[in-house]
Amino acid sequence: MTETETGTAPTGTPPTGIAPRTGSGARVELAGIVKTYGDVRAVDDVSLTVEPGQFLTLLGASGSGKTTLLRIIAGFVEADGGRVVLDGRDISQVPVHRREIGMVFQNYALFPHLSVAANVAFPLEMRRVRRRDRAALVERALEAVQLAGYGRRSPKELSGGQQQRVALARAIVARPPLLLMDEPLGALDRRLREAMQIEIRRLSRELGLTVINVTHDQEEALTMSDRIALLAGGRLVQYGTPEELYGLPNSEVTARFLGESNLFRGPVRHEGSEAVLALPHGRILVPGDARGEGEAVVVVRPSAIRIRPAGTGPSRPAVSEMPGVVSADIYAGDSRKVLVAGADGAELVVRCESGAPLPCAVGDEVVLEWDADSCHIIPGAA
C-alpha cells in the first residue's frame, strides 16, 4: 500500500492498528477565539472554518497573533474564550496529548537523542502501535519525504532541509486529521524553501490532510494555500482564497501586506457619468459599482501601471493618471522596479518588463497611467 492509496482507502480497520480514518483530513472550526496577555489582546475574536483537506495559512506580521492562534488549536495555550471544533467535536478542553494533531515546529524540534527512525516512530509508540507494524510505517513516511534509508542516522548528522523532512515525516506518520505547521520553512534558504513548499503541498494533497500553516511570508502564503487568513493585531482582517486576498483586498492592511501596491485615498466625486477621487493632483477614476458617496481607497498593483513622459497625451481613452518624478530605477532580473515620487508626495511603485526600454530616466517628469478597470476599490473606507 502506498501513501496515495491510503488516502482513498475505505473506512475499515487498517492493518496498521492506527485509529481508522477515511484518509481525509478534519473539518476545523474556530469560533470566537480570544486570548489576552495582560492588556494585550493577542487573539481577538477569531472565527473561521477550514474544510477537510484544505490548506489554510495564518498570515501576519510578528505580533499579529498567528502563532498564539496555532498554539491554541494545538492545545499548548488555553484560550480565554471561544471554541476549537474538530470534526464537530469541541476539543477546547482536551489536553494536548489526546488531540492527535500532527505538528511541525520552526526549529524542527527533533529528539536529538533518538535516531531518525525512532523520531518518526515516536507518535506510533505513543499510540501503542505494535512494534512490528511500526518499522513499515516509519519507512513509508520516510519514503514520502524522500528520506528512505536514513532511519539509522542521528538527526544531528542531517542538514537543515533533511531535518525538516524528518519533522514532516514524524508529523504525518500517524495520519493525524490535522497538521499544524509553525513557520516550518523559516530557517531554510530560499531555494530549499521553494522546493519544500511544493513538496509539502504535494504530500498534503496526496494524504488529504487538513493543514494549518503559520507564516509571515506572503509569497509562501500565496503559493501554498487554499485559504489565507490574514491577521493583524490579533484580529482576522480577511479570510479567503489567495486570489481574493490579492485581487480583492477588503482593507488597506490586506492590500499592503499581500504584494506591492499603490494606495490612493480620497472622497469620491461624481463628474457626469464618471466617478473620480477628488485629489489635488492627477485624475483617478473610480470604476464599477463602488462609487458610493464618502471616502474610497483605490488600490493599483505596480504591474498595472504604465509610464509615459510628461507632456504627452494618454495612450488610451479613459485612463487614470498621476504625475510624478522618477526617483529610482531598480533592475530585478525578470522585471524592473521604478520608484516615482508622486505629485501628492507619496512614493509610487511601478513594475515594468525589464526587456523593454524605459521611456524615462531618473529625475524625469513623468505621468503614470493605468486603465480604470485594472484597479481595485476598497469600499466604505471611511
Binding site: V96, H97, I101, M103, F105, P112, H113, P123, M126
Partner: protein
C-alpha cells in the same frame, strides 16, 4: 593536604549562578559548527597570566613537591607501605562507598530541585537559586558545626524525639556515624549537582517537549522519554564533580564521622600528624590525585571536561 583536595571546589565558587539567559545551544537539533582546534594566538589571553602564575606557584609547585616527597621521604617504599596496609585499603573502600552514596543522594535530591528551578517563573527561580546559594555562601566550617549541633546526642533532633515526642528513651545515635557524614556532605555538595542539572535542563528546547506532547505523550512519558534522557549529560557532569570532590573531603567527615570510618583525606592527615610519616601521606595524596584524574578522564569521554568543570560558570558561547 586538605587544602589541596579542596582546591577544585574553591576555584568553582566564583560566579556560580547560571544566568537565566544562559541557554546554550547544546542538545539542540542542529549540528554544532566544528571548532578550530588550534586558534591563532589571542594576545588578550595575556590577561590570564597573573592567574596562571598563581596557579603554578600555589598548585603545580606544591604538587611536584608532594610527588617528590612521596618518592624520597624516605624512598618509593612509601607506596609499597600503602598497598600492604589493610587499614588504608579499608579506608579506600569506605571512601569510594561514601563518595558514591553522596553522589547518588545529591543527584536524587538535586534533580527535582533543578527541575523546579528550570521550569518555574522568574521570581520563583530567583528564590530557589538564592536558597541554594545561601548554603554555598556560608562557610563550610559553620555548616558542619551546625550539623553537629543538630545531630548531637543532646541536639535538636534528639531533644525533639526524646523530650517532646517521647518516642525514644535513649538518644538516637546520629553523630559520629556514616549517616551524619552523608547528611553533611550532601548539604555541602548538592549545589554542584543542582547547577549542573539546571544548566542542562535549561538547554533543552521547550519545543522538543511540546512536540512530544503533541504526538500523544502524557506528561510523565514526555519526562521519561525526552526530558530525562536529554538531561543525563548534566547528571553525569554534576555527578562526577560531586564524586571527585567527595573523594578528598576532610573537614566534614572529620567533624561528623566516627572513629571507625577513616576516609582517605583523614588517613593522609593521620600519616602526617600522628604517625609522622609525611612520605606515606604524600604517596596517598598522589594516589588520590591520580584517582581523581582517572575519574575525570573517563567522564570526559562521555560529556566533555568543559561541561564538568564549567559548572556554575554560566556557560555561554
Amino acid at each position: 593536604m586538605s587544602a589541596l583536595s579542596q582546591i577544585p571546589a574553591r576555584g568553582l565558587e566564583r560566579d556560580p549562578v547560571t544566568g537565566p539567559g544562559g541557554r546554550a545551544g547544546d542538545g539542540g537539533g542542529t549540528p554544532a559548527p566544528a571548532r578550530r582546534r588550534f586558534p591563532r594566538p589571542d594576545y588578550w589571553s595575556g590577561v590570564g597570566l597573573p592567574g596562571l602564575l598563581f596557579v603554578i606557584a600555589a598548585f603545580a609547585v606544591p604538587m611536584v613537591v608532594v610527588v617528590v616527597k612521596s618518592l624520597t621521604d624516605p624512598s618509593p617504599e612509601n607506596y609499597a607501605a600503602i598497598f600492604s596496609s589493610a587499614v588504608y585499603q579499608r579506608s579506600v573502600w569506605d571512601t569510594l562507598r561514601m563518595a558514591l552514596v553522596v553522589t547518588g543522594l545529591c543527584l536524587l535530591i538535586g534533580y527535582p530541585y533543578a527541575y523546579a528551578m528550570a521550569r518555574s517563573g522568574r521570581a520563583m527561580r530567583t528564590f530557589l537559586t538564592v536558597a541554594l546559594m545561601l548554603a554555598f555562601w556560608t562557610s563550610l566550617l559553620v555548616r558542619t558545626y551546625a550539623w553537629q549541633i543538630i545531630l548531637n546526642d543532646t541536639g535538636i533532633v534528639n531533644t525533639v524525639l526524646r523530650e517532646w515526642l517521647g518516642l525514644v528513651s535513649e538518644p538516637v545515635r546520629l553523630i559520629r556515624t556514616p549517616f551524619a557524614v552523608y547528611i553533611g556532605m550532601v548539604h555541602v555538595l548538592m549545589p554542584y549537582a543542582v547547577l549542573a542539572l539546571f544548566a542542562q535542563l535549561r538547554s533543552i528546547d521547550p519545543d522538543v517537549e511540546r512536540a512530544a506532547r503533541g504526538m500523544g505523550a502524557r506528561p510523565w512519558r514526555v519526562f521519561a522519554r525526552v526530558t530525562l534522557p536529554l538531561s543525563l549529560p548534566g547528571a553525569v557532569a554534576g555527578g562526577v564533580l560531586v564524586f571527585v570532590l567527595a573523594l578528598g573531603f576532610y573537614i566534614t567527615p572529620q567533624l561528623l564521622g566516627g572513629a571507625r570510618q577513616i576516609y582517605v583525606g583523614q588517613a593522609i592527615m593521620q600519616q602526617i600528624e600522628q604517625f609522622l610519616k609525611p612520605g606515606v601521606g604524600a604517596a596517598m595524596a598522589v594516589l588520590l590525585f591520580a584517582a581523581v584524574l582517572a575519574v575525570l578522564a573517563v567522564a570526559a569521554r562521555f560529556v566533555g571536561l568543559g561541561r564538568i568543570l564549567g559548572v556554575g560558570m554560566g556557560r555561554r558561547r
